[in-house]
Amino acid sequence: MEKILVVLFTQEDGSLGRTAFEATGAALGLAKELDGASVTIGIAGTSIQEAANALAGSGAEKILGAEAAELAQPRYATDAAAAEALAKAAGATIIVAPGTSRWNRIAAGVAHRLGGRADTHATSLAVHEGAPTITRWYYRQRMVAKLSRTNRPWVVSLDPGAVPAWSGEPSQATVEKVALSMPETAARTEVIGVEAPEAGAQTIRPEAETLLVTGAGWTKKQADGQIHLKEAEAAIMDFLRQTKASLGSSKSLVDQEGEGQAVLPFLTHMNQIGQTGSTPRHAKGLATCCHGEEPHVVGWRFITERRAVNLDANCGWAQGKADVLYVADAFEVMKKLNDLLAEKAPATPES
């Protein structure tokens, strides 16, 4: 019989992020399909009662809590110690975790300490012939595998947005505290802050409905023989401002700075999608001035509705990958699109 443990870290304010509820929902769903399986929730943080209350109605067998001042900082040594202690206390055979940067930093290390194995970036949890299975992607989202394991404990971290979140009303939870012993070396690393990209303006929004992908065409010579970086920047930033979309970029565009070519100043490697970038999840994606190549297609993998604007009707990026390809000048289309979006926007006292 599987003992499923969901391990969650609280956010700075003591609450849980959306991905915590997704992991909880996936674990509860898995337990329903496995004969005799039970679910325990383990929460780690400086103060975990609020988070425990949020999951009190989940139907989990019990809620374990690991509290320590050191857990205020997302750091390998202390986070791994907390997750390890919770897993041991629960006697977990399967550990389900949200695939956040904090969890993905420790998932395999914790599995190793427990004598088990870890699989990260899972996109689903299911049961096949009575055994738990996961789905995950290989070779940068170019092939998908369904697999099961006999190794226990089995640590599985779920990609954000991949599964529905559990929801329920908060109530007073009873928490069973787990004693923590932090390693002496924990103080060797101290988190001293968070830095936003140099551009200042927020351009990466994982929660956004729409992803705007910019390709190298924005920085190339246009019909008049000139490069129009300022116009490109204005069109892209205006679109982001009005739609609150997230911004992705092709590798070639973010690499241009290193190659001494014209660049859009607000783009960094953090915006890069594809082979060596991210594969974000958004409901809609609009690609502009992007061309060809399978690596770019990888960046689209988890975009539900896809449209593209570029000048090449046979573009490999769009043909067969996008739902609609508009063969047009992206500068012109984006300017008019921004005008229309401004007209549609509800009037505000400032405007």
Binding site: Y76, A77, A80, T100, S101, R102, R105, A107, A108, G109, H112, R117, D119, T120, H121, Y139, Q141, M143, V144, A145, K146, L147, S148, P183, T185, R188, E190, V191, I192, V194, E195, Q202, I204, P206, E257, G258, H269, M270, Q272, Q275, T276, G277, K284, P295, R301, E305, R307, A313, G320, A322, D323, V324, L325, Y326, V327, A328, V333, K336, L337, L340
Partner: protein, 269 residues
């Protein structure tokens, strides 16, 4: 100026990203069709880790870079022709599979054995670099397990920058949610750093480095330690290519106003 470091860069090889990949059933489990024929490159994130190691070594005179690489040695030899031109390093090859379906814990075990066997290894100077994920397995698990095996609990993943200080401590910028970086200050080596893309451009070829490297690389390849990491405990029920073909509606010869209207309705709908 900071004291010297021992920087060990771990990396595998992957098929050139422009190749079409297809899964097939191999004797040990899933594999890539015609894998031996596919041109390979050093894993992109390990590639960045190597540049960053070279850059860091310049800031800490007397530092040494060791590249520990597991791959079929014939393939590794081809890849080294390119890599060797970039910076001076010592190669510690492991003759084993480069497949993404092999267990990362087994790979980590092989890497740990080689690292522990490095002549003159000084844990107080050791920085273990590698990619935070690979372009094959894409799991981000190997470096963590390797760190645990080496007893290193100062670990950082998704690293884009390291700022070394004169006292040997350093600040690390790790990628976190929302396009931001978490900045951590570490007291110093030993540490494990799984690199994202970093900020450095690809260094230009250096023929002198290439010649110096190749003198060591060829004998090292001949003596490459054989390894057979497996897939124990894991059962692949299915490995397939995603159905990705969409019926694309191509809109041509249409005024920009009309396209913009359609897009505006789609975006706000």
């Amino acid at each position: 100026m900071a004291g010297s470091l021992q920087i060990v860069v771990c990396g595998g090889i992957v098929p050139n990203p422009l190749q079409t990949l297809e899964p097939t059933a191999g004797p040990q489990g899933p594999a890539l069709k015609n894998e031996a024929m596919l041109p390979a490159v050093l894993d992109p994130w390990a590639w960045h880790a190597l540049f960053e190691a070279a850059n860091l070594a310049k800031q800490a005179p007397g530092s040494k870079i060791t590249l520990v690489c597991m791959a079929p040695k014939a393939k590794l030899q081809q890849v080294m022709m390119t890599i060797a031109q970039k910076t001076v390093f010592e190669l510690q090859p492991i003759d084993g599979p480069a497949s993404g379906f092999v267990e990362s814990a087994d790979v980590a075990g092989e890497l740990a054995e080689v690292i522990k066997g490095i002549n003159g290894l000084d844990m107080q100077k050791l920085l273990v670099f590698g990619g935070w994920e690979s372009a094959s397995r894409g799991a981000g698990t190997t470096m963590q397990i390797l760190g645990e095996m080496l007893g290193i609990t100062d670990q950082f993943q998704g690293v884009d920058e390291i700022r070394l200080k004169d006292d040997g401590s350093f600040d690390v910028l790790e990628r976190i949610e929302g396009g931001k970086h978490q900045v951590s200050r570490c007291a110093g080596a030993p540490a494990v750093l799984g690199w994202a893309t970093g900020n450095l451009p690809e260094p230009p070829n250096n023929p002198q480095a290439g010649m110096a490297n190749m003198r060591g690389i060829m004998p090292a390849l001949q003596k490459a330690r054989p390894a057979k990491p497996g897939q124990d405990g894991v059962k692949f029920l299915d490995v397939s290519l995603p159905s990705q073909r969409r019926e694309t509606r191509v809109v041509k010869d249409t005024p920009a106003e009309e396209i913009a209207r359609e897009l505006a309705e789609w975006i706000t709908g």
